[in-house]
């Protein structure tokens, strides 16, 4: 259970990106977060892995109060949260394989097990056979799929995605939406922020809309 309670986020400079958001997300839910640019979608997502901290209010995951988590505990929180951002944020100086391996190394996985998991993740996103290539050699959609494999390889219980299809052709975007649906089918809580709500309409997800930092649940 992810619980946002009376969240306010004010950026330095005084801009209020979130203005009293209260929201509960059950384990295993698929949530699509929509809203105009500047509505506060990214800010809301960033509060979950403690990339940003709330000005007031709390964020809880299960029993854990994320808003008051000490800095040294943050890495361990993030290992349980897969993240896909608008830019793939792959490391361009290493192979696709090594990119997907990175979270497992960080998490201290034994090498043999790690290799199996990377293989499985590559299969899942349809990049099998491309693992030796470098990200620059992949199309935008393939890069995004590699990023999704990286986000999922650690088998996190929560997956957050911030406009993962923004730069993609509709056909690619649909594939990506399909991937998120399959993760959700495996029991992962999935939160996707997107302009393109229609992408997910077949899955009948829970839809949440933000406008100027306030919630307008549909």
């Amino acid at each position: 259970m992810i619980v946002f309670d009376k969240l306010v986020k004010q950026y330095p400079g005084g801009y209020t990106a979130l203005d009293g958001v209260s929201l509960q997300i059950a384990p295993g839910e698929l949530v699509v977060l929509s809203g105009h640019s500047g509505a506060g979608k990214s800010t809301l997502l960033k509060l979950i892995p403690a990339i940003e901290r709330p000005t007031s209010g709390t964020v809880r995951i299960g029993e854990q109060d994320i808003s008051r988590l000490p800095r040294r505990a943050v890495p361990y929180l993030r290992r349980n949260i897969g993240m896909v951002l608008q830019e793939s944020r792959l490391l361009f100086d290493r192979s696709v394989y090594d990119n997907i391996l990175l979270p497992l190394i960080i998490n201290g996985h034994p090498p043999g097990d790690a290799a199996r998991r990377v293989g499985a993740a590559l299969d899942l996103v349809g990049l099998h056979g491309r693992e030796k290539e470098f990200p620059a050699g992949l199309s935008g959609g393939e890069q995004q799929r590699a990023a999704i494999a990286r986000a999922f390889v650690n088998r996190p219980s929560i997956l957050i995605a911030d406009e993962p299809t923004a730069h993609l052709d509709p056909a690619y975007a649909a594939e990506i939406a399909e991937l998120f649906k399959s993760f959700n089918g495996a029991g992962v809580t999935v939160l996707v922020a997107t302009h393109d709500v229609s992408l997910f309409r077949h899955w009948a997800p829970r839809r949440i809309a933000l406008a100027r930092g306030r919630l307008m649940e549909e």
Binding site: P49, I51, R72, P75, Y76, L77, R78, R79, M83, R89, L91, D93, L102, P103, I105, I106, N107, G108, P110, P111, R150, N154
Partner: protein, 298 residues
Amino acid sequence: MRNWLYLHSRAFVQALKRLGGQPFGTLLSALVMGVALALPAGGYILLDNIAVLARGVSGTPEISLFLDGKADSARAEAIESRLRAEPDLASFRFVPRDEALKQLESSGLGDVLGGITVNPLPDAFVVTLRGDDPELFETLSARIRGWPGVAHVQLDSAWVKRLSALVGLGRTVVLVLAVLLGLTLVIVTFNTIRLQILTQKNEIEVSRLLGATDRFIRRPFYWFGGLQGVFGGLVALGAVWIGMDVLAEPVAKVAETYGAAVALGGPGWLESLVTVAFAIALGWLGAAISVRRHLAET
């Protein structure tokens, strides 16, 4: 433990790759470090050689201790047993006053002393030391000076004292040099690592998003600094070897004029190890300071 080793070996390989990825910069850093370290290391080894050279010229250092007039045979025996108990003595020899007088007479000074009926010379011991450490020489003679029945202690040559002072001064200069250059090298590594962190800003950020601890992120930079130290230390050793080689002939010629055959000894295993270890410590320290300072900001 195994995981810890695995993470370190990964960080080590990563650091090696980063060093290998910029061979020119790595070479330059190693040269800067090596040349800077070669100065104190070479100085230290040169001083060692000077000490050996001096030994060759002076022969074994001796201490003469003269007993006071009241000393009887019991006193002399007491001093003898004390000398026997000293661990640093190679040998000692008792010179009775009569024998000293005879020596003096046979040396041709008998005429000068002619007519003296009372022997004015005291009994004496002549002591040779096991080592030739000037400091040992000093402390031992100072200790003997305090023994009852000893009237006077004489070091066989004043220049031993002078040499000891000179070598001591040289050591201090080398030490100061090592500290100053060491500081410079820490700053150099600090800056190299700072640039590394800047070029790897993206990788650091991504790793953090994926749950990397600060410790995980710092590790390769420590290895980077340490490896730079290894290369720098090896360059320093090379420079010292070459320097010794160049100096060998002129030094041998100088020694010849003193009637001593001297071969300059290069750095031994211990000196080499200490030099490289010192370089590693400097690199590691520079990296540690840099990483702690700059990772907090990114």
